[in-house]
């Protein structure tokens, strides 16, 4: 029997409109403790808007959102205690050094000084910025700023982490480092809400994936199930100069289909990108 775990993040019919644009449309989500939840969707799908509502930066137009059991509109301070946020855009403080950025964060989160000092050093080490600790952050490259943002979000050991495209603009090596960090803190019981365009990121990291398009949740499951439902195997062929795909449950069916074709085709295993394209009719990055 699985123990009953209460959701750490929950939304009920959550909706946000900007004029005639529906950024988030009737979203129902439940994310349980210890989960890495991936939110996958094309540009403008509503990922950032959802993140911002959950971190109290944006007010929902209707519906409810809860973090750690607290309504984000009614009890924002409680909902925010124990969360860590990495926004999509860079927002480190250029006028402060890397060390001071982290110290400010620790102070804002009421960390005790001795512990803070220890954690700052550990986090700087973690994201390989120890040697630049005392440089003003406005002299940092984008990737360095992003790494500092990750360090900052983790400094106070949050129970829930909101990562809005945390690895955009990072080199492949650093991206893998960040993935490692995300896994490690998840093993230390942190719950993670992660948005991404990178299919690979969702595949390697996430326990469950939600696919969002035009503000609506169009699929939500473990990657395994999403792939199974779409079909484990893909046949890709060229049709009028356009690549077309057909999905099959197993390799045998796919093989028979290819044999019946009068042109070249390839068989491969499906991935989340295929799931995405099948569901939305579009690529993740249009």
């Amino acid at each position: 029997m699985t123990p009953i775990v209460k959701p750490l993040i929950k939304t009920e019919a959550l909706t946000k409109t900007y004029g005639s644009i529906i950024a988030v449309d009737n979203l129902d989500l439940e994310i349980t403790e210890g989960e890495i939840f991936g939110f996958l969707g094309p540009n403008g799908a509503g990922k950032t808007t959802t993140c911002r509502i959950l971190t109290t930066l944006t007010k929902p137009s209707s519906g409810h959102a809860f973090v750690s059991g607290f309504n984000v509109v009614e009890e924002p301070v409680k909902a925010k205690s124990g969360i860590g946020v990495v926004p999509q855009y860079l927002n480190v403080d250029g006028e402060l050094s890397a060390y001071e950025n982290l110290k400010l964060h620790g102070m804002l989160h009421g960390m005790e000084w001795g512990k803070m000092k220890m954690h700052i050093e550990k986090m700087l080490e973690f994201v390989q910025l120890s040697d630049r600790a005392s440089s003003l952050v406005k002299t940092f490259s984008e990737g360095m700023k992003k790494r500092l943002m990750v360090a900052r979000a983790l400094l106070h050991e949050p129970k829930v982490l909101f990562l809005d495209e945390p690895t955009v603009g990072l080199d492949p090596q650093t991206r893998r480092n960040i993935w490692g960090i995300i896994r490690r803190i998840n093993q230390e019981r942190a719950t993670i809400f992660l948005t991404t365009h990178y299919i690979e990121e969702a595949e390697v990291l996430c326990h469950r994936v939600g696919i969002i398009d035009y503000g609506r949740l169009i699929a939500l499951d473990i990657p395994e199930q999403l792939l199974k439902r779409t079909g484990r195997f893909v046949v890709e062929m060229l049709d009028d100069d356009r690549s077309k795909a057909r999905f099959f449950k197993n390799r045998e069916d796919a093989g028979r289909f290819v044999a019946s074709l009068d042109r070249d085709a390839i068989i491969r295993k499906s991935n989340l990108e295929d799931v995405f394209i099948k569901l939305t009719g579009r690529k993740v990055i249009d």
């Binding site: 969360i83 927002n91 480190v92 402060l96 400010l104 804002l108 009421g110």
Partner: protein, 244 residues
């Protein structure tokens, strides 16, 4: 109030780093006023029974402490819409009132520093002002009031350009029409009444009275307290509501 301290600490770190530059920039415009009105017009000019420079310097304190305090509005604005660093405060588990208080204290330090510089400049021009509790309190309320007003405007305006036009429409006119450079008694009755609405009018009359060793006008002092409370509460509401 950990949030308040954190925000104030940040401001102080940055201020310490730029102290010399900041002090020089706070000295520039008062110095130009002193040269123009002090040397330029000569000491012979008499206003309300005193020489003009003695009349003007307390006005300069009111003016300069207001505008340097109010300058936090532009910084908050930039941190909200350009650097997005204000979100670091907004996503921390701290109350809106502790954010406001942190920003207000930061603004007050700027205003106090600006007042202090005018004191030194005044001494250089041979004007000795009375230093007393009434003066200190008047400057404290003046800076508190305008720091709170600065937080309000920075939460309401939606861009950098709007912030600049707000300064142009309210702060600049107030600088000249609130008894800072000439006594309001020279105004026609209706203009005099309008001037009473502006908080700076009351600040400058309190600061002038205190600096010249006279009793401060209690009504004006009371008006400052009322504006301080209203603006501070308004600022808390605005920070609470501020979201995109």
């Amino acid at each position: 109030m950990v949030g308040t301290y954190a925000i104030f600490w940040r401001e102080m770190v940055i201020l310490r780093r730029r102290l010399i530059r900041v002090m020089a920039s706070y000295a520039i415009s008062p110095l130009l006023f002193l040269i123009a009105f002090g040397w330029g017009m000569g000491r012979s000019l008499q206003v309300e029974g005193m020489d003009y420079l003695t009349f003007m310097i307390p006005g300069l304190i009111a003016l300069s402490s207001m505008s340097q305090t109010f300058s936090i509005a532009m910084d908050i604005n930039i941190s909200r819409f350009y650097w997005m660093t204000f979100e670091e405060f907004q996503t921390a588990p701290i109350s809106s009132s502790s954010i406001v208080l942190g920003e207000v204290l930061s603004g007050m330090v700027r205003g106090m520093l600006a007042s202090f510089i005018i004191f030194i400049l005044a001494a250089a021009f041979g004007i000795r002002l009375n230093v007393n509790w009434a003066l200190l309190l008047s400057v404290i309320f003046n800076t508190f009031m305008f720091a709170s007003a600065a937080v309000i405007t920075s939460m309401i305006v939606k861009s950098h350009a709007d912030q600049a036009s707000f300064n142009g429409f309210f702060i600049v006119p107030m600088s000249f029409l609130c008894g800072t450079f000439f006594p309001l008694s020279r105004f026609p009755e209706w203009a005099y009444l309008i001037a009473q609405v502006f908080p700076l009018t009351h600040a400058s009359s309190c600061i002038r009275a205190a600096a010249l060793g006279m009793d401060i006008p209690l009504i004006s002092f009371l008006v400052m307290i009322i504006y301080s409370i209203l603006f501070f509460l308004g600022a808390i509401t605005c920070v609470k509501k501020a979201s995109l």
